[in-house]
């Protein structure tokens, strides 16, 4: 077990100000702190990992936390170094960041914007965190990203799939490694075409909030472009637990594909219900009825159990990637090895994105030679890298979105072991999922200028 001293801030405070009773401004004042919020002055630096630890996404949050812990170990030169060994940038050397030992604090977002912001604020105000990362839903990501922008902190988004995170709600201080709904659709559409043909009638069930809407919009556009017809799109309340009343009408709708724009518990339940209603065995218009879950996650696949078999979806990353798709995805095995040896099971895509984000941040700081958010942002913008498991990747300057290959996966029919929940159908090359920064689905917001706080 590593032992970390979380109260670094105190050290630096007392170090900075000798003598009692002296009042001096922090947080907003540049003078004593190097011109930006929470500038680390001691020999340690604190990162804040804000993940859901209670509520429906708790499991995913815990996996993210494991990845963060691993990343911090590797940054501090403990363990086997993981993806540091495969990362194309060699700026990091295992001696912390800029020679400062990495500490971290954790918090619970509860998957609520309010709680997530409270937790992030406490990391910034109390613990002196210089960067916040993590999260498992787009609402939280956008809310925390906004907070970090205002406070002058870098936000390295965790799992967030809505177009808005790097679309209309993008921020200069926020960066997303994870893919988005548009990319899912762009990757899925050709595969669906190949698997199910171009003459299909799709029925959408969509979670009735922003992420659901952007995903539905993306999938509909992409599938219609290749000739599919959209029979219907029904919005389902977030609080639903039983989707049977939404599934039942699908039976006689004439549709032959059901698209479930759901995530988390909603997805597990709607898929379970769909399978219950015999949709997987159903024949319509002489074709097999198919179910598509555009955004997959290992933990949800696990929750859905047998129901997931043969269901197609997309993923940001998978632990079998390098083994099955070749060395383009170098880094995957290194990460799976260090994660698997430490925790006894392979990492999820949420874990991978969080691990990668932490490394990317540390690397950017090192290359910039400063913790100043503006310098870090500059180092990340337009950064091209490889070796973090996703193949060659670009952090686009225009919207702070990573562009990399997207995986199309399918629920495994005959899993080789209990962790093999999905099988990889295709790794869609990055060119196919790239879009213009001013694409209409991402329009309406502006990065603004980087805010160093202070």
């Amino acid at each position: 077990m590593s032992k970390t001293n979380v109260t670094r801030r105190g050290v630096l405070k007392t170090g900075a100000v000798a003598g009692a009773g002296l009042a001096l401004p922090t947080y907003l004042s540049a003078a004593s702190h190097g011109g930006y919020t929470n500038a680390p002055t001691g020999d340690t630096v604190t990162l804040g990992f804000n993940v859901p630890q209670t509520g429906p996404y708790a499991e995913e949050g815990l996996d993210e936390l494991r990845a963060f812990e691993l990343a911090v170990q590797h940054l501090n030169g403990e363990g086997d170094g993981g993806m540091l060994n495969t990362f194309s940038s060699k700026a990091l050397n295992g001696a912390g960041i800029l020679g400062k030992k990495v500490n971290f604090v954790t918090g619970d977002t509860q998957t609520k914007s309010d709680a997530a912001r409270a937790s992030a604020k406490s990391m910034i105000e109390k613990d002196g965190a210089i960067m916040i990362s993590g999260g498992s839903s787009s609402g939280v990501a956008v809310a925390v990203q906004g907070l970090c922008q205002e406070a002058g902190i870098i936000f390295m988004a965790g799992l967030t799939h809505s177009n808005d995170t790097t679309g209309k709600d993008k921020k200069a201080n926020g960066f997303r490694h994870f893919f988005n709904a548009y990319m899912s659709a762009a990757a899925l559409a050709p595969v669906l075409n190949k698997l199910y043909g171009s003459d299909r009638r799709a029925y959408h069930l969509t979670a009735d909030y922003t992420w659901g809407w952007t995903q539905q919009e993306s999938i509909q556009a992409a599938t219609e472009a290749m000739g599919w017809e959209t029979v219907n799109n029904v919005l389902t309340p977030l609080a639903s637990t039983d989707f049977s009343s939404y599934i039942a009408p699908v039976l006689n709708s004439g549709a032959d594909v059901l698209v479930l724009n759901h995530y988390g518990g909603n997805m597990v339940n709607s898929l379970t219900n769909a399978v219950q209603f015999g949709l997987r065995e159903k024949q319509v218009n002489g074709k097999n009825f198919e179910i598509v879950v555009p955004l997959y996650s290992e933990l949800m696949a696990k929750g859905a159990g047998q129901n997931i078999k043969g269901i197609v979806g997309s993923q940001n990353w998978d632990w079998k990637l390098e083994n099955q798709m070749g060395s383009r995805y170098i880094g995957t095995n290194a990460f799976v090895k260090s994660f698997g040896e430490k925790y006894g099971f392979p990492p999820s895509q949420a874990a991978q994105t969080c691990y990668a984000q932490t490394l990317l941040y540390a690397d950017a700081v090192t290359r910039a030679g400063s913790f100043n958010p503006c310098a870090v942002a500059e180092a990340l913008e337009g950064f091209e890298f490889d070796g973090l498991g996703n193949g060659p990747t670009l952090y686009r300057a225009d919207d702070h979105q990573c562009f990399k290959d997207v995986l199309v996966v399918r629920g495994a029919e005959n899993p080789g072991n209990e962790f093999e929940l999905v099988e990889i159908v295709e790794a869609t090359p990055v060119e196919q999922v790239t879009y213009a920064p001013d694409h209409p689905m991402f329009a309406g917001g502006a990065l603004g200028t980087c805010n160093p706080g202070a």
């Binding site: 209670t54 509520g55 429906p56 996404y57 708790a58 499991e59 815990l62 009735d208 219907n232 029904v234 919005l235 389902t236 309340p237 609080a239 637990t241 039983d242 049977s244 009343s245 939404y246 039942a248 009408p249 039976l251 006689n252 518990g265 597990v268 339940n269 379970t272 219900n273 219950q276 209603f277 015999g278 933990l299 696990k302 929750g303 859905a304 159990g305 047998q306 129901n307 632990w319 079998k320 799976v336 090895k337 698997g340 040896e341 099971f345 392979p346 080789g416 072991n417 962790f419 093999e420």
Partner: protein, 335 residues
């Protein structure tokens, strides 16, 4: 027409879950007058009884299969459940497959025990306390139960599938197919509701309890130990909630916060049905189930956007404003 019929069917099926949960709650809340925020947790524990049984039946020993490798490239450990090695793969497999129906037998004593100890150890001391205190203590208990389950089983849903024979779909009429397990659930709910009604209607125990509900002091004066019967009542309510949970498992995979998801809804159902009325709770359960199903039809949503989000609450408001004590509420109960 088919769509209409299908949604009615679906409403009955949804309603049977609501009715069953509300029935247990109304035994405690509507009649004993205890605001039991832990009722959802009892439902959840019921569902986890079947998860637990599934885990017990799946207790396995490991053998190493050198021909396969695990995700790290080490030789794969193959697990074989003891049950399969004792009874042979066929019988053993069947036992595991039927774990949900078997869990009913397993859940009844467990839920009774939980109900009894909850009442004796905690609720008993709160009959005369203000409702506010009951809310706090039962809510605290609900959180504790929920967190214990989360600690042992994690936050992810765990599938408890129905046996193969009961899991497909049934063709009910031309163009109308419906999942078998959901039909099973409906009849199961009807059976439990019927049994509870018969129990309260035709046994002396039931009569005493009903009298005690109406006028506790008088029954106490008659020298009948009403307390003991109330304990039993609590056990009964816990069992009804637990069974509702066991059977719900195959419909939606149990997770640790499923109780909280149902908690508010079950209170709404009980109150709309009317405080102190068992038939009211059942009726309200089915009514809200059916209305919710209709409100989720595309045609309806297009007409009134967002109606599917609020239908239950809207109906509750309309009913409570037109009928002061809900559908069949008794006068003077928690008014």
């Amino acid at each position: 027409m088919d769509a209409f019929l299908l949604q009615t069917l679906n409403g009955l099926d949804k309603g049977s879950a609501y009715a069953l949960i509300a029935l247990g709650l109304t035994l405690i809340f509507g009649t004993l007058g205890v605001v039991n925020f832990a009722h959802g947790a009892l439902f959840m524990i019921g569902a986890f009884c079947s998860v637990t049984l599934q885990r017990i039946l799946n207790l396995s020993y490991e053998t190493v299969d050198p021909s396969k490798t695990d995700f790290l490239g080490n030789p794969l450990k193959v697990k074989t459940p003891y049950v399969e090695s004792w009874f042979g793969p066929e019988t053993g497999g069947a036992i595991i497959e039927w774990s949900v129906p078997l869990a009913i037998i397993f859940a009844i004593p467990v839920m009774l025990a939980i109900g009894f100890s909850m009442e004796r150890g905690l609720i008993k001391h709160f009959y005369k306390r203000p409702h506010a205190d009951q809310i706090l203590v039962t809510f605290g208990l609900a959180i504790v139960l929920q967190e214990i389950i989360k600690y042992y089983y994690g936050a992810n849903p765990i599938q408890t599938p129905a046996p193969e024979a009961l899991s497909g779909v049934a063709q009910l009429a031309e163009g109308i197919v419906y999942p078998v397990w959901r039909i099973v659930y409906f009849f199961f709910a009807i059976a439990i509701i019927g049994a509870v009604f018969a129990f309260l209607q035709f046994t002396t125990f039931g009569m005493v309890v009903r009298a005690g509900m109406a006028d506790r002091e008088t029954v106490g004066l008659l020298g009948i130990d009403i307390d003991k019967r109330f304990t039993l009542m609590f056990g009964l309510a816990a069992s009804v909630a637990g069974l509702a949970g066991v059977m719900y498992g195959p419909i939606n995979a149990p997770n640790y916060h499923m109780g909280m998801d149902f908690l508010v809804l079950s209170f709404v159902v009980v109150v709309v049905g009317g405080m102190g009325s068992l038939p009211g709770a059942v009726l309200a359960g089915f009514l809200l189930g059916i209305l919710e199903s209709f409100a989720s039809m595309k045609e309806v949503i297009t007409l009134i956007p967002g109606i599917n989000q609020i239908i239950i609450y809207l109906v509750a408001i309309v009913i409570l404003l037109t009928r002061p004590r809900g559908l069949m509420g008794r006068k003077g109960v928690m008014e």
